[in-house]
């Protein structure tokens, strides 16, 4: 399997889009830090970047890559190799290439300007979100044979996670405005990796004071060691569950 990963990784790294993504992240992060007069503000801009650009690039690039490597997959499937290893290799290859791009592109400026716990949390969340959206892309790509449909589906998923879900939450909040929903919000935040990542970063940035009682409830949960472990575990689930489902589908897929 490591050999297949090696070939996939080499193939992706040769891809100019990944290089472009790295440079883009690097340029944006650097300019964000050098344009803003204090790094705290830079971090806030970076937060939006991580929660907006990273999932988008990861999900779309991965989906397209999987469709484009259908020949490669076909070739490998006719060889004495487990389907599972092929699929997992693609995941590992994509996830590590995009993580590497993120680490280099955003990580170096963060290390230079903000090597604090907040900066590290932000990096960790960025990495987790990269991995999660690769996994979601794999599920989207294996679900349909048609490339256009698959890409459309993954864009929809991205819109759902970054916009629609929050809209639904807002709607629900107003529907059930008479009930104390702070605790429920903790559970709900776990249903969207982007929200979860955002809240974890915001709490580290000590904006929780701004968030009033909700912030206090969040802090009392996510601020504890147990809460942090649980939330990172939930993030892992967000990567593992789509991946497992996609693997199951791939194992039964006709090529």
């Amino acid at each position: 399997m490591t050999k297949i990963v090696k070939y996939i990784l080499l193939d992706i790294l040769k891809n100019k889009i990944v290089l472009g993504y790295t440079l883009f992240l690097f340029a944006i992060t650097f300019s964000v830090f050098s344009l803003e007069d204090n790094t705290q503000k830079g971090m806030l801009s970076l937060l939006n970047l991580i929660l907006f650009i990273v999932p988008l690039v990861c999900i779309i690039f991965s989906t397209i890559y999987i469709y484009n490597s259908s020949e490669f997959i076909e070739l490998l499937v006719s060889q004495p190799i487990k389907r599972k290893s092929i699929w997992l290799s693609i995941f590992v290859g994509l996830a590590s290439a995009l993580s590497l791009a993120f680490t280099v592109g955003a990580g170096i400026p963060v290390l230079i300007y903000e090597p604090s716990a907040t900066g590290m949390t932000m990096m960790l969340m960025g990495l987790l979100i990269s991995i999660i959206f690769v996994a979601i892309a794999m599920l989207a790509a294996v679900s349909t044979r048609d490339k256009a449909k698959g890409i459309g589906f993954s864009i929809l998923l991205w819109i759902y996670f970054s916009l629609l879900f929050d809209g639904l939450v807002l709607f629900l909040l107003f529907q059930f405005a008479d009930y104390p929903l702070e605790k429920a919000m903790i559970v709900i935040s776990g249903l969207n990796p982007i929200d979860l990542g955002r809240i974890l970063i915001l709490l580290k940035m000590d904006v929780s004071a701004l968030m009033g009682y909700t912030g206090a409830v969040f802090k009392s949960f996510y601020g504890t060691e147990m809460g942090l472990i649980i939330s990172i575990f939930v993030m892992f689930l967000w990567a593992a569950i789509p991946l497992l489902f996609s693997l199951k589908k791939f194992n039964r897929k006709d090529l």
Binding site: S162, L170, A177, I188, D195, L202, G212
Partner: protein
């Protein structure tokens, strides 16, 4: 020149008649303790206290004397007593270190407590680990100047206030440094007084706590990093000039909390990095000019119970939310301020934006109505909502706007 000498001599003579004589207290002197010194002193005497540690067990000053420490003698309360009780008028205490007063939940022990007196002056003392620092009870015309008060308790119940004034008039609190107390400066029923150039930092509750005190001024103070900022309540004719309210950051923390204040001025103050720069409730007839609101969570939180507040010529820079409000009723004006989030234009180049600015964001209204929505803080959807609200206002109060927003920040 020849005339001056006899005139000076005449004044010196008068001075001699007016002032008392001097007594010296010290380990090498006849008078070993200040209590002994006081016993021997008459009104208008000066007692010079030499360097050393004095365990006077509640030194009570009941004569009109001047107490001067040489080389900063120490009055130690041994964690049991009130160090100094002043029960006479015209007392001056200068140059002492006063430490370790008793701590009690029944009696308000203080480093220096002044009872029902006038013209008492407390200058240049250092108070360390006292329960209350300087406590004025029903006093007038007193001066508290250049003292340093430091306490190290962690709990509110274990700690008293730095400067505590209960009932008084014409008090001057000037140039003191207070930290680690419950409230830095506490005023209740104090009128016609001034709080000037004090530095009140890292106190457990408020940097300044101010209630039922009318016609007072506080100016050029620094209130930094206090547990809940500054609280000014139930007072009128208060003038707040050129103070710094910095880094009062935390849940329920404010640069300044204004409650039931009327006929007052807030001018030239700096509010930086507070959870809320100003939180006001039931405030009326207040003029706010030339203030700087910078990098606060909320620049200004103004409940709909406020009226006739005129906010002009202020700068709002880098606040997460410029203004938050609770309802749709707005009886205040917000004209001629600079808002860094303003995106309008100035076609006629008169340095005033041509379209009004609405400082209340949609999301801050949503959160006011529905606090758990704070979960969506800084998410894409809230940004989009704010954008659309700017174009077509629906939820934010129609009349809360700056009709003449400035294009450039005011130089302050």
């Amino acid at each position: 020149m020849k005339k001056i000498i006899p005139i000076s001599l005449f004044f010196l003579f008068c001075h001699y008649l007016a002032s008392g004589s001097g007594l010296r207290v010290g380990k090498q002197q006849m008078l070993k303790t200040i209590t002994e010194g006081l016993f021997r002193a008459k009104d208008k005497d000066t007692i010079w206290v030499e360097k050393g540690i004095y365990n006077e067990q509640n030194l009570t000053i009941n004569k009109q004397v001047v107490l001067i420490g040489i080389g900063r003698p120490v009055l130690d309360g041994e964690h049991k007593f009130q160090n100094v009780s002043v029960k006479a008028d015209n007392v001056t205490i200068y140059g002492f270190e006063i430490r370790n007063s008793g701590i009690s939940s029944i009696v308000d022990f203080a480093g220096i407590k002044i009872y029902d007196s006038h013209h008492v002056t407390i200058v240049n003392n250092i108070l360390v680990d006292c329960f209350f620092g300087i406590y004025l009870q029903n006093c007038t015309n007193c001066i508290i100047r250049n003292n340093t008060m430091t306490a190290h308790q962690l709990q509110e119940q274990q700690s008293g206030n730095g400067v505590h004034c209960w009932k008084g008039d014409s008090i001057q609190v000037i140039g003191n440094k207070i930290s680690g107390h419950r409230d830095g400066i506490y005023f209740e029923f104090v009128t016609n007084s001034i709080i000037w150039r004090n530095i009140s930092v890292k106190n457990i509750r408020y940097g300044l706590h101010f209630m039922f005190s009318n016609s007072d001024t506080y100016a050029a103070n620094i209130f930094e990093n206090n547990g809940a900022g500054v609280s000014v309540m139930f007072s009128n004719k208060v003038k707040m000039f050129h103070n710094y309210f910095i880094e009062n950051w935390g849940d329920g923390s404010y640069g300044i909390l204004l409650k039931e204040i009327s006929d007052s001025y807030i001018d030239g103050n700096y509010f930086e990095r507070n959870t809320s720069g100003i939180f006001m409730e039931g405030v009326s007839r207040v003029k706010m000019c030339n203030n700087n609101f910078k990098e606060n969570g909320w620049g200004l939180k103004i409940q709909s119970s406020c009226m006739d507040i005129a906010l002009t010529n202020n700068n709002f820079l880098g606040n997460t939310f410029d203004v938050g409000t609770s309802g749709s009723l707005v009886l205040n004006t917000f004209d001629n301020n600079y808002w860094d989030k303003y995106e309008g234009y100035d076609l006629d180049k008169n340095k005033i934006g041509d379209v009004p600015y609405r400082p209340v964001s949609m999301f801050s209204m949503v959160v006011e109505k529905n606090p758990p929505a704070m979960m969506l803080f800084r998410s894409l959807i809230t940004t989009l909502l704010d954008r659309s609200e700017r174009v077509i206002p629906s939820l934010t109060p129609e009349s809360l706007k700056d009709n003449y927003p400035l294009m450039k920040p005011i130089k302050l």
